[in-house]
Symmetry: D2
Subunit: 411 residues, 4 copies
Amino acid sequence: MCTYLKVVTSWESPGDGIQFRRAGPREKVYFKGEEVNACIVTCGGLCPGLNTVIREIVCGLWNQYGVRNIIGIEDGYRGFYSRNTLELNPKVVNDIHKRGGTMLGTSRGGHDTAKIVDSIQDRGINQVYIIGGDGTQRGAAAIYEEIRKRGMKVAVVGIPKTIDNDIAVIDRSFGFTTAVEEAQRAISAAHTEAESTENGIGLVKLMGRYSGYIAMYATLASRDVDLCLIPEVPFYLEGEGGINEFVLKRLKENGHMVIVVAEGAGQELLGIEKNTSTRDASGNQLLHDVGLWLSAKLKEHFCATKGEGLNLKYIDPTYMIRAIPSNGSDNVYCTLLAQSGIHGAMAGYTGYTVGPINGRHAYIPIWRVTEKQNQVNIADRMWARLLSSTHQPAFIKPHKDDNEPQQRASD
Amino acid sequence: MCTYLKVVTSWESPGDGIQFRRAGPREKVYFKGEEVNACIVTCGGLCPGLNTVIREIVCGLWNQYGVRNIIGIEDGYRGFYSRNTLELNPKVVNDIHKRGGTMLGTSRGGHDTAKIVDSIQDRGINQVYIIGGDGTQRGAAAIYEEIRKRGMKVAVVGIPKTIDNDIAVIDRSFGFTTAVEEAQRAISAAHTEAESTENGIGLVKLMGRYSGYIAMYATLASRDVDLCLIPEVPFYLEGEGGINEFVLKRLKENGHMVIVVAEGAGQELLGIEKNTSTRDASGNQLLHDVGLWLSAKLKEHFCATKGEGLNLKYIDPTYMIRAIPSNGSDNVYCTLLAQSGIHGAMAGYTGYTVGPINGRHAYIPIWRVTEKQNQVNIADRMWARLLSSTHQPAFIKPHKDDNEPQQRASD
Amino acid sequence: MCTYLKVVTSWESPGDGIQFRRAGPREKVYFKGEEVNACIVTCGGLCPGLNTVIREIVCGLWNQYGVRNIIGIEDGYRGFYSRNTLELNPKVVNDIHKRGGTMLGTSRGGHDTAKIVDSIQDRGINQVYIIGGDGTQRGAAAIYEEIRKRGMKVAVVGIPKTIDNDIAVIDRSFGFTTAVEEAQRAISAAHTEAESTENGIGLVKLMGRYSGYIAMYATLASRDVDLCLIPEVPFYLEGEGGINEFVLKRLKENGHMVIVVAEGAGQELLGIEKNTSTRDASGNQLLHDVGLWLSAKLKEHFCATKGEGLNLKYIDPTYMIRAIPSNGSDNVYCTLLAQSGIHGAMAGYTGYTVGPINGRHAYIPIWRVTEKQNQVNIADRMWARLLSSTHQPAFIKPHKDDNEPQQRASD
Amino acid sequence: MCTYLKVVTSWESPGDGIQFRRAGPREKVYFKGEEVNACIVTCGGLCPGLNTVIREIVCGLWNQYGVRNIIGIEDGYRGFYSRNTLELNPKVVNDIHKRGGTMLGTSRGGHDTAKIVDSIQDRGINQVYIIGGDGTQRGAAAIYEEIRKRGMKVAVVGIPKTIDNDIAVIDRSFGFTTAVEEAQRAISAAHTEAESTENGIGLVKLMGRYSGYIAMYATLASRDVDLCLIPEVPFYLEGEGGINEFVLKRLKENGHMVIVVAEGAGQELLGIEKNTSTRDASGNQLLHDVGLWLSAKLKEHFCATKGEGLNLKYIDPTYMIRAIPSNGSDNVYCTLLAQSGIHGAMAGYTGYTVGPINGRHAYIPIWRVTEKQNQVNIADRMWARLLSSTHQPAFIKPHKDDNEPQQRASD
C-alpha cells in the first residue's frame, strides 16, 4: 500500500481507469528543503547508470529543492549499521556519471529491517532512496511497512535496478540499453573468432537469469548471431529440432556460427544432470554455467559425430558489461528516474517506486514491481523477429505435454 | 492517398478510432517472391543506420519472401538515369551494417519524376524502396502518384530518414540515438577544454536545422552543459536575460562553461545581420554558421566588458557524427523499419512510409510525414528537465509580442 | 641458412659487425612483377593486425612492383592441400584492416612439408608469405629447406606473429600494443567491480604463455593494478612474502584490489597439484586455467582466515582482445613488416623473416627467431618500474636454491 | 648549463662518447623526502597524458621517496602569482589519468621570471616540475638561470610537452600516439563521407604547426588517405604536379578522395594571399586556416574546370583529439618521463629535461630541446612509405630555385 505521508490514502488507481499517478513535480510540497535529511543506498550487483541515478538525486534535491543534507550509505543495506556515511553534494557527485560502478559501494543481502529503521530513526533521516533489484525492493517494502508502523514521517523511494530488464510493470530498466550495446563487442569478437576458423563457433553468455531480454536485443542488434537461447524457451540437445542438429546444419552451410546464450537458459537441463552425475568433482560453477556446459556438450557431440574437433571459443563478458558507465540514452533515462523519485518524496509520497509505463513516468507501489518478473513474451513480434533473423528452430518437441507454459498459448 | 495495389481503397483510418494500419506481415501476400523486382535508393545526407536499413530490406526480402531480384540504385535519385546498378543479395550486404555511410552512395536533388518512373518501368521494377529525408519523401510521393496515374503495379515505400528526428507523426527517426551518443564525445572534449583554462568556454554545434532534438537530448545525456540553444527557442544576446549576461555570470561562478547550439538556432539573428552588414567579404558560410557567429559575438562582448580574452574552443563534430555506424539500439530499430517496409509491399500496399506511433509500428501515407516537421515542444516536460539541468534563462523578452508562437501557449 | 635465390650465399653477418642486412627496397630486383606468383597464408591463433599485413603485402606487390597474381591460401597450412584459393588484389583487401581476424582464415597444425611444397610447385608459385607464430615459422623454415633441396626458385618469407611479444631477436611483434590497449578495458572493469564491494578483488587473466609482456605493460599502462603475476617470476601462495599474505594486507589497507595474471604464470604450482590430485574429475581446463585456480585458492584462504566471503570477479578477456582490429600504431607497424617482406622477396632473398632490431628493420634467417623465446628480463628497469607501481612482493623465497634462473643474476 | 645542486659541474657529455647521462634512480639522493617541497605546473595547450604525468610525479615522490609536500600551481605560469595552490597526494590524483585535460589548469604566456622565482622562494619550494611546450621550456630555462644566480638550492625539471612531436633531441613526445590514434576517427569519417557521394572529398586538418608528424603517421595508420600535406613539403595548386591536377585525376579514377593537411602546411601560400587580398573583412582565422583555404580553392577550381559542384566535407578534429585521455602506450611513456624526472631531482640534478634518446631515457639540459624543432625528414624512409601509400605527387616544381631546402638534398 502506497501512501501520502500527510494523509494515508490509497493513491493507486486514482480512478477513471488511470492505474498509477503520473510522476512529476507537484504544486504543493510536503517537505521544506531545509528540513530534509535524505540518504541514498545502492544494493546488489553492478549496473550501468547507478552513479547517474545517485548524481541526479543529489543534484535534483540540492538545486531544485534547496536540500543540503544528503548522505550516502556505504556498501548496501549493511551500511546502515555502520557509523560512517558519505556526505553528498553536487560537487562530489559532479563527474561520477562518467564512471562505472557505484560511488557508494554495494553488497548483497545484509538486510535487517528493524535495525535499518532504527538507524534511519537515530540519524533523523526523512527521505530514503533505495536503488536495487528485486530482493532490494522487497527489503524496501519491508522498511516502508516498518516505518509506517512506527508512525515515522519518512518517505521511502525505491529505484528499481536490474540489468536484465525483468522488472514488472515498467517499460524498461536503466542500464539495459548500455548492456545491449556493450554486448555487441563480445558478439563481434565471437563472430570474428568463428569466421576465422573451420567449424568455428563463437559462444557468448550474456546476463539474464530469468529473462532473455539482453540476449534477444543483443542478437537483434548484432545481425551476426545464428542461435539465441533464453530462459523463456526450453530447448533440448538431441533429436530432431534439437540444438545439436541445428549446429551441425549451420556449420555445414556456413562453416561457422555464433551462439548467444542467456545465463538462465536451459537450467532445467543442467539441473537434471547435476542430480544424476557426480556433483562434487566438477564443482558448482562448472555445472551451473550454461556456457561451459553447452561448450562441453557441443564439442562432445561434434567429435562423436564428425570425428574431428570443434573450434569453439567461449566468451563471458558479464563483468566487462556491468562495470561500464551508462551511455547517453541511459543517462537521460536515469535522470528521469531520479527526478521522478525526488518529486514524489518532496510531495510527501512514500512506499513507491518509479518508472515509465507505456512511455509515461509513474509512481508505482513497491510491492507491484516485486510480485512477479517480466519475461520475454515469445508469442510476441520481437521474438518472431529474432527467429526470422537467426532462422533457428522453435525447439518445440513433437510430443509435447498438454500443460504448455501459459504465455505460449498465443503462438 | 495510400492504396492497395489490387483494390484502390483508402486504407488510412480503417475505422474504430484507429488512425493507421499496423505494420507487420500479412496472411495474404500480393507478390510472389519470384516475381518481385525490387530496387533500393538512398538520398540526402548521411545518417547512421542507412546501411542497416539496406541490409535488412535485402535479407528480409531474400530470406522471408524468397525474392531474388534486388538492385541498388547508386548515388541517389539521379542513379535512376544511369545504366549501372548494384546487384544486392545477403552476401554483399552481410557486413555493411558495421560501416557508416551508405553502400549505395547518395546525393541531393536530381529528382525528375517522369524520368524516374520511366526508368522503373523500363527495368520492370515492381517494388521501390526510397530511403531519405523530407525532400526525398516528397519525391517519393510524386513517384507514387505518377505510377498510379500510369496504372503500374508497383509498390512505392518510403523509409523516412532524418538525423534531426524532426519527422512528423512517427516517434523517432533512425540514427538519432546514435547521433546523441556520439555527440557526447564532442561535448566531453568541449568540457575538458573549458575546464582546463580560465574563462574557458567549450562551444559545440550539433545538427538540427529546424528542431533541437539532438541538442536537447545530448545536453540531457551529458550533464556537463550550461547552455543549450535550439531553433524552437528564440534567444537574444544583449540585455537582461540575454546570452551575454548569462555567460558572464556562469563564468564568474564556475570559471568555465559548455554551450551546445543546434545549427538552426538563432538564424533570425544571423539573418538580420546578413542583410544589414557587409555580406560579400565575410562569405556565406561564416554568417550562416551559428557556431562561428556566436563565438565571435561572445569574444567581442567579453573583451569589451572585461578587457581580456575568452578561451573559447569551437567544435563542429557534424561529419564525425553522421558518418559512424549505427549503435545497437538503432540497429534494432532499423531492422524493424525495414521489415515493416517489406511486409507492406509484399502485401500489396503502396505509397506509404513506416515508423512507430506511440510504440507501435504503422503504415502511414507518405504525404502525412512531409506536410510538417516535428519540433521540440518547449512547454513539455523534457525541455523543462533540460532547463532544470542547465539553469539557463528562459529567454523570454519582458515586452514580448502578442503573437507568441502557438506551441508555447501552455508555458 | 638464408640465401639469395640467384647466388646461394650466407647473407647473415655481412661483415663489419653488422649482424643482419637492413630491410628495404633494393636497386636490383630479382623478379619481374609480371612473373611473380605470390601466395599468402595465415596460421595459428588470431592477433590484431593479420588483415593489415595481408593488405599491405597485396597492395605493395600490386602497386610498387606491378604483381598481378596473388592468391590467398585459406585456413592455414592445410589450405595448401585444398583446390580452392582466394584471388587477392587491392580491391578485395581494401577495407580488411578495419576488421579483426584474418580474411584468409587460419588453423593450427596441419603441416606436411612435402605436400605443401608439392602444392607450391604445382601451382607455379614463386613467392610464399607465411604469417604465423613459433610453430608456423618452424614450418616455414622446413618449407624453405625443402624448396632449396628441390632447387626451386621460390622466395619464402616468414612474418612473425605472436600477440605475446615473445619472438626473439626483434623488438616487438605486431598486435602487441593493440592487445595492451584493449586489455585496459578488462582491467578497468575489474577495478570498478573491485572498488564497488567490500573485500572486492578483480582478477584479469591476460595472454602470455611463456612471457609476461602483455601483463606487465597492461599493468604499467593501467595504474590500477595491485599485483601482476607473470611466468618469469615464480610465486607461491603460503607463508611470508606469499600471495595470500599480500592479498590480505592489501585488502585490509584499501578494501579492494586488482590482480593481473598472465596465462602462463604459476604453471609449476598448478602442475604439482595436477599430478597429486584427481585429474579426471576436475577436467583439464579447470586445472590449467591459472585464473580459475587462483580464484579458488584465494577464496579458500580468505574464507579460512577471515571466516567470510571474498567478492572475487574473474575476467578472461582473451578472445575479446585477440579479435579486434589493430590500432593505428600497429597498422603502421604491420605496413612496415609487409613492405620489408616484399622488398626482400622481390630482391631475391629467401628463408628470412622481418622485423625491427633496435628500431631498424632487418632481414633475419627464419631459424634465428624460432630457436628461443623472448622473456621479460626481471632484472631490467621495466619490471622494476612495475614493482614500484604495484608495491607487490618480489616473491623470492627466503631459502632459495642455488640454481637460480640465470636472468635474475643481476638482481 | 645543467648542474648538480651540490657541486656545480657540467654533467653533459660525461665522456667516452656518451652524450647525456642516463635517467634513473641514483644510489645517493640529495634531498631527504621529508625536506622536499615540490610544485608542479602545466602550461600551454592541452595534450593527452598531462594528467598521467602529474599523477606519476605525485605518486613517485610520495611512494618512492616519502615526499609529503607537493602542491599544484594552477592555470599555468600565472598561477605562481596567485595565493591559491592545490595540495597534491596519491589520493587526489588517483583517477586523473583516466580524464583528459589537466587537473591543474593551464594557460599560455604569463611568464615573469623574477616574480616566479620570488614565489618559489617565498613558498620554500625546492623542486619545480614544469610541464609544457617550447615556450614553456624556454621559460623553465630562464627560471633555472635565475635560481642559479640567486644561489637557491632548487631543482628545476622540465617535462617537454608537444602533441606535434616536434621536440628536438628526444625520440617522441607524450600524447603523440594517442593523437595519431584518435585522428583515425576523423579520417574514417572523412572517408565514409567521401565514399558516399560522387566527387566526394573528405578533408581533415590535423595538428602540426611546424612539423607534419601527426599528419604523416595518421595517414600511414589509416591506409585511406590519398593526399597528405605537411609543413615540410611546399606544395602548389596550379600547373603540372600541382594539387588541382592531382585531385582531378584521383577523383576521375576513384570517384572520391581523402586529404589530410597539417595546420602548418602551405602557410607560405596563404600568407601571400593575405597580403594581396582584403585582410580585415575575412578575419585572421579564416585566412590562416589552411583547411578552409584549401576547401575554397578546390571548390573554386573544380567548379571552374568541370562546371559542377564538389562534395567537399571539411573536418577539424583538433579539440576532440587534444582533450581525450592518453592511451595505454602513452600512459606507460608518461610514467617513464615522470619517474625519470623525479629520480633526477632527488639526486640533485637541475636544469634538465627528460626523454628517450634512441630508446634510452636520459637527462638533457633544457636549452638543448628548445634551440630547434624536429621536423619530418622527407628524405627518410617513413616519408617514402607515405608516398608509396598515397601515390601523391612529390610537388617538386619543374623550374625550382637553386636554394632548395637543405634536408631534401638526399632525395
